[in-house]
């Protein structure tokens, strides 16, 4: 690609690049000034460390900075220019020394911003994901040809690395590959293996050794986390709210090393509801609710009576008359309905005054390897927490799997199921091969939403009438099936057992043919 025009080069952070990538096309406010007249569209190269360009963006507009909704800011202050970013591309790293300045000299490092020209006919390689190196590709093809199998990516990667590190000659390496393939083949599961039941038993048997009581989470004395069998049941039942939702919030560089800063964030997050700082008294006589704030609690949480009045305006569904006297607030409804009064009372009590809804407590502790401060919460609200600027979204975690599915997607939820289940088992000292749990997680998520294993989820979706009837609530399924004239094709395990035929797994799935000899 010929590049004779000037390009922009600037140093930026990975998070900004990610945000640009997710929101493009978008206006990006930057802290440097573009004084030159440039012909649009112009390319911008972003460097993370200052020595090579890692990303290329297409800029279609350049204008002076003015505040606007929906723009992404490079920094919080000193914004001077708005760039309209159309596209973000990963590129194979180009050393900045290949860029020429207008005076003809080559660039050295870029600490903030520079103009630069890239050589004519320089090939800009756009990276997608990690692809095979030539040696890896050759190995992969050879293995496929010789053995007829495709080794996993990680194995190929390692084999090539080992060859280099140990400096193997061809004969030795062939032997290594041979052994690797042999071991790989041995570990493969045979088709028609009853993996489902094996997984169920592999998880169930250790389950009988798990505790039935919850106990305190060692290390964070104040917090209660559900452990053991009850937690495993929660995970597998896809409960919308775990009984002890909790989050581990990690913060960004610059904040996480400072205990005070982290404590500030924790205070910001911890939610205060009206009931935490006030009493709500229902008066049936004059159909009103009186909110009586406790001054000590209000002070402790930093809440003023005006804040309460403000928050009442959030209750849009009710037309309220609010009377503010010196030390209390009286709330009245237009209609004289006991039920509405009661419901209003309940809504008011749980109204969030400050902090993030759902987070009842936020505690700051040093991380396990003591390198940073981490916030542990009681209560979970992944969506709102990730919105905070100080939060490192890449490492923050929650144990609420449904929330993860909503905020981060179904694949993330699948991984969360595996992680939570493994941790629950390991915490009890039990070792279950991850494959069994992977199967459960995959089964729970393969429809795109998190479904429970039981009759409200996967088991209830079975095609076979007999299988569902054999599982739970026999009469209902049989009756409905009879009325609707359903057919059962006898493809699954349960129905074949009921009927008395060989099951379609294992040996039952084998069709034998006779190859007779002719004379």
């Amino acid at each position: 690609m010929k590049m004779t025009e000037l390009s922009l080069i600037w140093k930026d952070k990975l998070e900004n690049v990610d945000r640009l990538r997710m929101n493009a096309p978008v206006y990006y406010a930057v802290d440097f000034e573009i004084k030159k007249e440039l012909e649009l569209p112009v390319y911008g190269y972003i460097t993370l460390k200052g020595s090579e360009a890692n990303y290329r963006v297409k800029i279609t507009e350049i204008k002076k900075y003015e505040p606007m909704p929906g723009i992404i800011k490079k920094t919080t202050k000193k914004l001077q220019t708005l760039l309209k970013i159309e596209e973000v591309q990963d590129i194979a790293a180009i050393p900045l020394s290949e860029f020429r300045k207008e005076d003809g000299t080559y660039l050295k490092r870029v600490t903030k911003f520079s103009y630069g020209m890239i050589e004519e006919e320089k090939e800009i390689k756009i990276k997608k994901f990690r692809e095979f190196t030539p040696e890896e590709k050759e190995l992969d093809e050879n293995v496929r040809k010789k053995y007829g199998i495709a080794l996993p990516f990680s194995v190929i990667e390692k084999l090539v690395k080992v060859k280099e590190e140990l400096e193997l000659n061809k004969k030795e390496w062939d032997k290594v590959i041979d052994k690797v393939v042999e071991k790989y083949k041995k570990r493969r599961v045979d088709p028609y293996e009853a993996v489902g039941i094996v997984a169920a038993q592999s998880i169930g048997e250790p389950g009988t050794q798990m505790t039935l009581r919850t106990f305190h989470y060692a290390g964070v004395a104040e917090m209660n986390v559900t452990l053991g069998l009850p937690r495993l049941i929660e995970i597998v039942d896809a409960r919308s709210q775990p009984s002890t939702p909790t989050m581990e919030i990690y913060l960004k560089e610059g904040i996480r090393e400072d205990e005070e800063k982290v404590k500030e964030v924790a205070k910001k997050i911890e939610s205060t509801t009206i009931i935490d700082v006030a009493d709500v008294i229902t008066s049936v006589a004059d159909m009103s609710l009186t909110i009586v704030p406790d001054s000590k609690k209000m002070e402790g949480r930093g809440v003023k009576i005006e804040d309460i009045v403000d928050s009442l305006s959030k209750l849009k569904t009710y037309k309220l008359t609010v009377e503010l006297s010196e030390d209390r607030i009286k709330v009245r409804l237009p209609e004289a309905s006991y039920k509405k009064l009661y419901l209003l009372g309940e809504s008011i009590k749980t109204l969030t005054l400050r902090g993030i809804k759902g987070i009842s407590r936020a505690i700051v502790r040093k991380s396990r390897d003591s390198s940073e401060w981490v916030i542990y919460t009681q209560g979970s609200n992944l969506g709102d927490v990730l919105d905070l600027e100080e939060v490192d979204g890449k490492r923050t975690r929650t144990n609420n799997i449904i929330e993860i599915a909503e905020v981060l997607g179904i694949e993330a939820a699948r991984n969360a199921i595996i992680e939570e289940a493994i941790n629950t088992l390991e915490q009890q000292g039990l070792n279950v091969d991850v494959r069994h749990i992977m199967l459960v997680a995959d089964t729970m998520t393969y429809n795109g939403v998190v479904e429970a294993i039981g009759r409200h989820g996967i088991a209830g979706e079975k095609e076979s009438v007999l299988a569902r009837a054999a599982f739970e609530i026999t009469s209902k399924h049989l009756l409905t099936a009879g009325v609707l004239g359903e057919e059962d094709h006898l493809r699954g395990v349960a129905e074949n057992i009921i009927v008395g035929q060989p099951v379609t797994l294992g040996t039952g799935a084998v069709t034998l043919i006779y190859k007779g000899k002719k004379r």
Binding site: D190, P191, Y192, E193, G506, T507, A509, V510, T511, L512, I513, Y514, K515, G516, K517
Partner: protein, 58 residues
Amino acid sequence: MEYTRFEIARIIGARALQISMGAPILIHVPEDLIDPLDIAMYEFKKGAIPITVKRKAQ
């Protein structure tokens, strides 16, 4: 072809059943083998079982 363990189980089992029902044995088998299952396993080792597996096409 390489058989899965289920296929091997069924092949040997079906062959043993055949032998017990009077099927002729196609290769020379040592005389001390009289149990149909033993004979079938011996035949399998020698690759002499006239039974194979029909697999579902990819």
